[in-house]
Amino acid sequence: MGTVMHAIEKILAKACGRERVKTGEIVSARVDFAEINDLYLQTVYSFREMGGEKVWDRDRAAFVFDHYAPAPTIRSAKIHSEMRAFAQENNLTYHFDINAGVCHQVMPERGVICPGMIIVATDSHTTTHGAFGAFGTGVGATDMATLLISGELWFRVPEIIEIRIEGVPPKGVYAKDVILSILGRIKADGAVYKAIDFTGSYVEQLDVPGRMTICNMAVEMGAKTAYMQPNRKVLDYVQKRAVKPFEVQYTDEDFAYGESHLFDISGLAPQLALPHSVDNVVPLTDAEPVRVNQGFIGACTGGRVEDMEAAANILRGRKIPDYVRLVVIPASAEVMRECMDKGLLQALMDAGATVSTPGCGPCLGAHEGVIAPGEVCITASNRNFPGRMGSTEADIYLASPATVAASVLGGRITDPRTVM
């Protein structure tokens, strides 16, 4: 005993040049990749305030312009311009400007995210990269600045809890429904400061997009990071993209989790998070058919090809009624091209959808579909906090892309299984 370790602990131990790490101790770890998005100009200011001169490694840090892409205001344009200057001064190898997409999508596509790596980004949804067997975690601007100077960051070694997901979801039930049902039970503070390892037969066979959706929302339970042991589908994805060699870590048999929660999804219904909290979750079968003004399909949670496909399969050949709108934003340029090749965007536009530039857009109420007071939005993104997508007097419901499509089609919150 004492030598049994989780893959997450092995990743941390390796990054601080040690044999092992203990839960609760504070360690300084070398970071494999750092990403700064365009809300965090303060990173550049903090970097200079601390006397930073050069980014520690030009291959390991990049900006992604996604929250304000393309710039909707003069102020955000100025943020981009100051960041571009900093990136050029530091001669950064990778740069993702307004033509790229959402950071958590474009980084894996570009091959900078691989199993066994430590990824730190100025975005809470950095837990997404657990989908690839990487340690991903979000930080603020000043933490990021210390990292850009030193290449290291302090971490408290987290307690690791297991969420085991067994079974095959019924038709009309997606990864988004699975994670919403988990949130409903574990709650918004159920994993604060902890790491979540998603295991079980469902995870073992799950594709890359589904894995990303689930790990993405681990942070909505407060988790520091999420993890899924890479499967064949993950290895196929990263092997053809990886820009550096990588090493998959494995959890030792007999590892004892801090907690273990079992979810059987065999009979799961589509799920809905009601305003104004991510953990206020009910099965759609118990939900009121509330009138909706806008649907949104996109962002780091629900903007991948498979998400657009689920929506297009419902909306193809049909019409969204007048006075109801659907905003569709593919998560990246690569996703957008593939959606075009498959005719998905055309099908969605024929049904009446508005398609916008890859980026985060309305998820955080920045632009490209902000909500008015008194309006109701149903969204495939990740947060329904008051004011998140615009007015604090709007109501936001979280659901799968299929449920969003079915709901805008009917003008009311609708179970997608009734229109498939």
Binding site: S46, V139, D143, A188, D189, G222, L364, G365, G387, T392
Partner: protein, 167 residues
């Protein structure tokens, strides 16, 4: 660093997320004073204009959940918050606040015990707080050594400059 702080309480609920602390529509602002003027606008726009310097935010569980935006602690500091007491704090917010020198104290059940407007005395070194009007003692967790070290240095920026051998 001052380890004993006193201020008037503003009591908030559970799961106060960073969108409520600092709404997304202001994320393009960079001036700290301007950022502070929008603090807690997602909870109640009347809080910031009437906030007394050195005031104490009292909250329930999971304060600061959601986005990693550093604007949230920047807004709280520039609105004049001296210290925050809560049942628990979200992780990224915790790091951000400590890095900027804003003390956070875990104090179980504090949201039920304190009323807005009461004066609270917080002793960071001892891990104990008191409602001055009633004398009620609020047991708190002592801050961890690592976080206390950053606070004592006045935040991570001076600490880091010193580490790099700069003034």
């Amino acid at each position: 660093m001052q380890t004993k702080l006193t201020g008037k309480a503003v009591v908030l609920g559970d799961n106060i997320d960073t969108d409520q602390i600092y709404p997304g529509r202001y994320l393009e602002l960079v001036d700290p004073q301007e950022i502070g003027s929008h603090c807690l606008e997602g909870v109640d726009p009347a809080i910031a204009p009437g906030f007394e310097k050195g005031g104490v935010i009292v909250a329930g569980r999971n304060f600061g959940c959601g986005s990693s935006r550093e604007h949230a602690p920047i807004a709280l500091i520039n609105m004049g918050v001296g210290v925050i007491l809560a049942d628990s704090f979200a992780r990224i917010f915790f790091r951000n606040a400590i890095n900027l020198g804003l003390p956070l104290v875990i104090c179980k059940g504090v949201g039920q015990k304190v009323q807005s407007g009461q004066s609270i005395e917080v002793d960071l070194a001892e891990g104990v707080s008191k409602i001055l009007e009633t004398g009620e003692v609020l047991p708190c967790e002592k801050m961890g050594e690592h976080a206390m070290g950053i606070l004592e240095a006045g935040g991570i920026k001076p600490l880091f400059r010193a580490k790099m051998g700069k003034k």
